[in-house]
Symmetry: C2
Subunit: 462 residues, 2 copies
């Protein structure tokens, strides 16, 4: 494929995607195809010979596009996968063509500096000082993993990375944590059984009493309290743990404090909720995913560390085939991954195109959507709101019904093709989980969703 | 930014990138700019207000493009970051616009099936049977990490993930391993000190005698041999460890055998080197990065597992907010990451556009380049080839000179702007590390590089 073919096919792709983006609101949100049938569509042996790009594009239009879940549809209130900004999509296209590798300076000098600048912007939002650093990661799971490892290495005085785990460390997090926290403690060798999944108050915030008791008990049993993970925007309800108080406890116990703001970090751009994350600047590390509520295309997670030296202490190995000079900033000695995609470009370009102001106004609109739904549900005695919206996440339930009922109703919403919501379980009770993190969503979509939900719940029998 | 603006700016970006790709060979390969100066170019506070897309593109043309290292330049013989296929670049663009999230079926039904098909193709290349599975990862570092964790969990009967590490496990790998192996053993809690970095033979292949002694010694000391990592294409020389024999030893010791073919996996498409990876199908897991010698844009790594059930046993947790039906394949219970970019599309589209045949012919051409350079250097008594090319990697040294000399000469090559090579240290001796993994490279570039290298080495004084 030479440059002329690239140019011709590239223009076709732009038109195809522009048409796609223009048509999203009119498409059924989810495909109605059996997984088995879908699987069969792609069942072919490894191609031995090539075909024309045009034919591949046709195949995508037949097989891929109709079988996507359109996360940019204004009725998508689902898992926190955003409507990507158009400029972010174009940025990713440029990043792929340049194929800079941020792992090491020599395969991306400007790209390295652009990531550093993007990390600086995120650190500034948190309130971290000049000693801070960080990496863009493939998502919150990687960011939380890196943070938990930093904590493990910090409390062990950087011995575990060399000698292996010899003591029993414990971790603390509320039961509202995202599953990536469990995965991180498993991965670093601490083990999931050694993490205390603590109860929350009526606003789903980690209970300080429960935390204090758990720490005391663990210490009595000879275990070493090591890593405390706070939610700043839990997945289900957007709840925020008491950050400043947790920072005090962590300091007293010489624990590492990590704040998981993978989703909730977006609220730092909000005017409506200014200051709700106060105390986040006291954390040792923060996860904040630009590919969530900053509307960057996947993937752009971030782990941000109050003092960059912690990253270097935990990850700073220099292999002989990577030689360098002191003035070249090398991400590979300040983080886990070696080869890394140029993820910063889409975040950088989104901030340049829209500014913190406009992105913040989308976030405030999403919070407004959650408040609108909270009000609507408050007027219908059959529904009960599980949380008052702090962020955009709202859980509500149809009174007196079990999880299966809620799942069936959500499946019925999915079948309608206009909206998408999920279900969850909170303190043992089922709920619909509705999260508008989409700058295309308008008030009419919230009203429409609630109208359909009322109808469906009245008619659904379990 | 509405769809019309996206269309207009998109067409501009296509033209910009087509011009870029057409001009690569004429550009200086590396920028001549001080890191400090480059850093200052991007030194601005977080933008509060947006600017026009056109102005951002202008800024990129001034600040980013001239300060890239052009990995697609035919004279780039550097770290294994490929010339991305044009169709792969377009595929990534489509992936960003659709923003499917492969973590869970509901945010990407067709994308999930396309990744499964892509994983199947890679497993077929290895010779894995129908029970195999895998994930596309952000790169070899993540793939090696997942593999080492699978090994840790396998030898512990899946207890470590719950209870934490309580025994002392050991790992084995040759000293030619990539640094990601060290990082993986650190991350999973085994510790880098418990990994035996074993000597190699004159072709840089892991010494079986050294391995047997190390295992015996560790067992005598009460340690548990857990994970054996074999190179199939080492970073510096492309050496291949004796895979079948290592599989026997691993089976005997009930160790997990992981093959790191992050770079070398491409040779499975080669006609010239058919069969050199025999035995790879006996591994428990294999790392094979499509973003290396399969020429996909970053990032597309892969961890491939002989039996998918190992992935499920190690990672299969189901959080309450992810509900599912049995016929929907959920990557999140078969791997580490939750949210995942639709990485498969670029690999799938590259295979469709070129077929295994054409990609294999590029790989064979790269092997030919290494052989050409090996012959050229063989004719000049001042040079010594450190390895005979198995793959595309060749190390050679200027006799009697130290590392600093080699680094200065490589820096001089970089300043010339026509070629890029790196340096390394092998068995304590310095060398130039030259690796043509680029389908744009021609024989003339190899001849030109060696000509310049001869000149520079003759003139360089240390």
């Amino acid at each position: 494929m030479d440059e002329n073919e690239f140019r011709n096919v590239g223009h076709q792709v732009v038109d195809l995607l522009a048409d796609y983006l223009a048509s999203i609101g009119r498409r059924p949100l989810s495909p109605r195809i059996e997984p088995r049938t879908l699987r069969a569509l792609f069942d072919e042996p490894l191609p031995q010979y090539g075909i024309e790009a045009e034919d591949i594009l046709k195949e995508l239009q037949e097989k891929l596009l109709p079988n996507c879940v359109h996360v940019s549809h204004p009725g998508y209130f689902g898992l926190i996968t955003p409507t990507p900004t158009p400029i972010g999509i174009l940025a990713d296209f440029i990043a792929s063509a340049l194929n800079q590798n941020i792992g090491t300076y020599v395969i991306g000098p400007a790209a390295t500096e652009m990531e550093r600048r993007t990390v600086r912007w995120l650190c500034d939002l948190i309130g971290f000082g000049p000693a801070a650093g960080g990496n863009l990661t493939s998502g919150g799971t990687m960011a939380n993993l890196i943070a938990v490892k930093l904590g493990r290495d910090f409390v062990s005085d950087n011995t575990v990375q060399h000698r292996g785990l010899r003591e029993r460390y414990t971790g603390y997090v509320s039961e509202e944590r995202q599953v990536s926290v469990d995965k991180a403690f498993d991965m670093v060798g601490i083990g999931r059984e050694n993490v205390r999944f603590l109860p929350t108050d009526d606003q789903f915030r980690l209970s300080l009493d429960a935390l204090e008791s758990a720490i005391a008990e663990d210490k009595k049993a000879g275990l070493r309290p090591a890593v405390l993970v706070a939610n700043a925007g839990s997945t289900a309800t957007g709840s925020i743990d008491p950050l400043s108080k947790l920072a005090e406890i962590a300091a007293r116990e010489k624990m590492w404090l990590h704040v998981d703001a993978a989703y909730g970090g977006g609220v730092l751009l909000s005017k409506k909720r200014a200051g709700v994350l106060q105390g986040i600047e006291l954390a040792h590390s923060v996860t904040m995913d630009p590919h969530k509520w900053f509307f960057a295309p996947l993937d752009a997670g971030a782990v941000l560390v109050r003092e960059e030296r912690f990253l270097t202490a935990s990850f700073g190995m220099t292999p002989p085939y990577l030689t360098t000079t002191p003035d070249r900033y090398q991400f590979y000695v300040h983080g886990f991954e070696q080869s890394r995609r140029f993820r910063a470009l889409k975040v950088w370009m989104s901030f340049k195109r829209y500014g913190a102001g406009e992105i913040g106004s989308w976030i405030d609109r999403n919070i407004g959507h959650a408040e609108q739904l909270y009000e609507l549900a408050g007027k219908d005695i059959a529904f009960e709101c599980v949380n008052k919206p702090v962020m955009s996440a709202l859980c509500l339930r149809y009174r007196g019904k079990d999880l299966e009922f809620h799942q069936r109703a959500a499946a019925e919403i999915e079948r309608g093709g206009k909206y998408w919501i999920s279900t969850t379980v909170l303190k043992g009770q089922p709920a619909f989980r509705i999260n508008p993190v989409n700058f295309r969503t308008q008030r009419e979509h919230i009203a429409g969703l609630f109208h359909d939900l009322q109808d469906i719940c009245r008619q659904t029998k379990v």
